[in-house]
C-alpha cells in the first residue's frame, strides 16, 4: 500500500512539474497562425451557409498593393466583426517561403482569419472563384446567402466599407 502511495506521489510530481516540451496536437494547432488548404478546402470559405457576410481577400506577402490594402480589411473586421461580418485573408504565398507568411502575421499582428491556399494549379480553380477573374491579385469576394460581388482591384477603406454596406 505504501508502495502504491509512493508511485502515486511520484506520478503527481511528474505531472505537476510536467515535461514542458511535450505539447498536445490541439495546442500546436492553436499556435499556428493560419491553416493550409487546397482549393477543395477553399470552397468551404466561398460557400459558407451561415447568414454572415463573408469578405474573402486574395493576397500575398510579396504583393505590394495587397499589403497596402490589408489594414483596411483589418479595420473592416474590427468595425463590423460584431455585426456578422467575417473577413478571411487567403494567402497565395509560395509554399517554400511560408515562414514569410508566419512572420508577417506575427509582426503585423493580423487579427483576421488567414488561410494559406497551397494549390499551384490556378487554372483549375481561378474560374471557380469567379468567371471574370484573370488571376491578378489583389482580388476580393463579398457574399452572403443572397448575393455575391467580385472585385479584381485594390480598395481604400472608404470603398471597401461602401461595398460592404450593400450587404448589410
Amino acid at each position: 500500500m505504501k508502495f502504491y502511495a509512493f508511485i502515486g506521489i511520484l506520478l503527481l510530481i511528474s505531472c505537476k512539474g510536467g515535461n514542458p516540451e511535450i505539447v498536445s496536437f490541439e495546442d500546436l494547432k492553436e499556435d499556428m497562425s493560419f491553416v493550409t488548404i487546397d482549393y477543395e478546402g477553399l470552397e468551404d470559405y466561398l460557400e459558407a451557409s451561415e447568414a454572415a457576410v463573408h469578405v474573402v481577400n486574395f493576397w500575398a506577402t510579396w504583393c505590394q498593393p495587397c499589403v497596402k490594402e490589408l489594414p483596411h480589411f483589418e479595420e473592416l473586421r474590427a468595425t463590423y466583426g460584431t455585426k456578422d461580418v467575417k473577413v478571411i485573408l487567403v494567402s497565395l504565398d509560395f509554399p517554400d517561403q511560408i515562414e514569410r507568411l508566419t512572420h508577417f502575421i506575427e509582426k503585423r499582428n493580423i487579427q483576421s482569419e488567414v488561410v494559406f491556399l497551397d494549390d499551384g494549379d490556378g487554372n483549375s480553380w481561378i474560374p471557380k472563384v469567379d468567371a471574370t477573374w484573370s488571376g491578378a491579385i489583389p482580388a476580393t469576394i463579398m457574399y452572403n446567402d443572397e448575393k455575391r460581388s467580385f472585385h479584381e482591384r485594390s480598395f481604400t477603406y472608404e470603398m471597401l466599407e461602401k461595398e460592404l454596406k450593400l450587404f448589410l
Binding site: W62, P65, G120, N123, S124, I126, G135
Partner: protein, 209 residues
C-alpha cells in the same frame, strides 16, 4: 429674330462640340483587350539594347510568344528560366519569345529600363525584353498581370491571337508542372493541329500602370 439667331448659334456649338468630343475619344479597343482569333496590331517598343522592336522585323517568324512579364513579380521571377527555355526551344522553329514589361517604373522602381537591362544581363535573357513606355500596349492586349502570355500566329490577316493565359499549370513550382499549356499550343500550331486549350488562368501580380 435675335433670339432665334442666338438659339441657332448655341445649337451649332452644341452639335459641333459633340463631334469634337467624339473625335477626341475615338472608340477604344474594348476594355477586355484581345480575344482568341483577334488580330494583334504590330508593336514598336524599345528593347534593352536601345533598339526598337516590331513584329514586322521578324520576316522568317511563323508567329510570336508574347509574354508580359517584369523584374519584380515573384511569379515572373519564378518563370524566368522557363521563359528562356521556351525561347531556346521555339525561336529556331519560328516562334521567338517577345517579353514586354508593362509596369510603370514610377509605381515600381524595380521595373525601370535600367533595372530591366540589369536583370536581363544577370539571367542571360535570349529574347528581346521590351519596355512598354507610357504603358500603352498592355491595355490593347488586355493583359492584367505578370506573367501573362499571348501566342500569336502569322496569318494572311495579320498576327492572330491563338492562345492566352498561363505558361503551364504550376507557376509557383516548375518541378510540379503536369501540363504545359503554352508548349502544347505552340506544338499544335507547328503541326497544323487545333489547339485544345486556348485560354488558361494563373495567379499573377496586377500590372502597375
Amino acid at each position: 429674330m435675335k433670339t432665334l439667331k442666338i438659339l441657332t448659334a448655341i445649337a451649332v456649338v452644341v452639335i459641333l462640340s459633340a463631334f469634337v468630343v467624339r473625335s477626341i475619344n475615338p472608340n477604344k479597343v474594348g476594355g477586355n483587350g484581345y480575344g482568341i482569333g483577334d488580330i494583334a496590331k504590330d508593336i514598336s517598343l524599345k528593347n534593352i539594347d536601345g533598339k526598337m522592336v516590331s513584329y514586322s522585323d521578324y520576316a522568317d517568324a511563323k508567329g510570336f510568344i508574347v509574354i508580359f512579364t517584369c523584374n519584380t513579380c515573384p511569379f515572373s521571377v519564378a518563370n524566368e528560366d522557363r521563359i528562356i527555355a521556351l525561347d531556346m526551344k521555339y525561336k529556331n522553329v519560328g516562334y521567338p519569345v517577345i517579353a514586354i514589361n508593362p509596369n510603370n517604373p514610377e509605381m515600381k522602381p524595380g521595373d525601370s529600363f535600367n533595372a530591366m537591362q540589369q536583370r536581363a544581363k544577370e539571367k542571360g535573357f535570349t529574347f528581346p525584353y521590351l519596355f512598354d513606355e507610357g504603358q500603352k500596349v498592355f491595355p490593347v492586349y488586355g493583359a492584367t498581370k505578370t506573367p501573362h502570355v499571348y501566342l500569336l500566329q502569322k496569318t494572311e490577316k495579320g498576327n492572330e491571337v491563338k492562345y492566352i493565359g498561363a505558361i503551364d499549370d504550376n507557376s509557383r513550382n516548375a518541378n510540379a508542372v503536369k501540363v504545359k499549356y503554352l508548349e502544347n499550343a505552340v506544338d499544335a500550331l507547328l503541326s497544323g493541329k487545333t489547339i485544345e486549350i486556348t485560354e488558361t488562368k494563373a495567379i499573377g501580380c496586377s500590372i502597375k500602370a
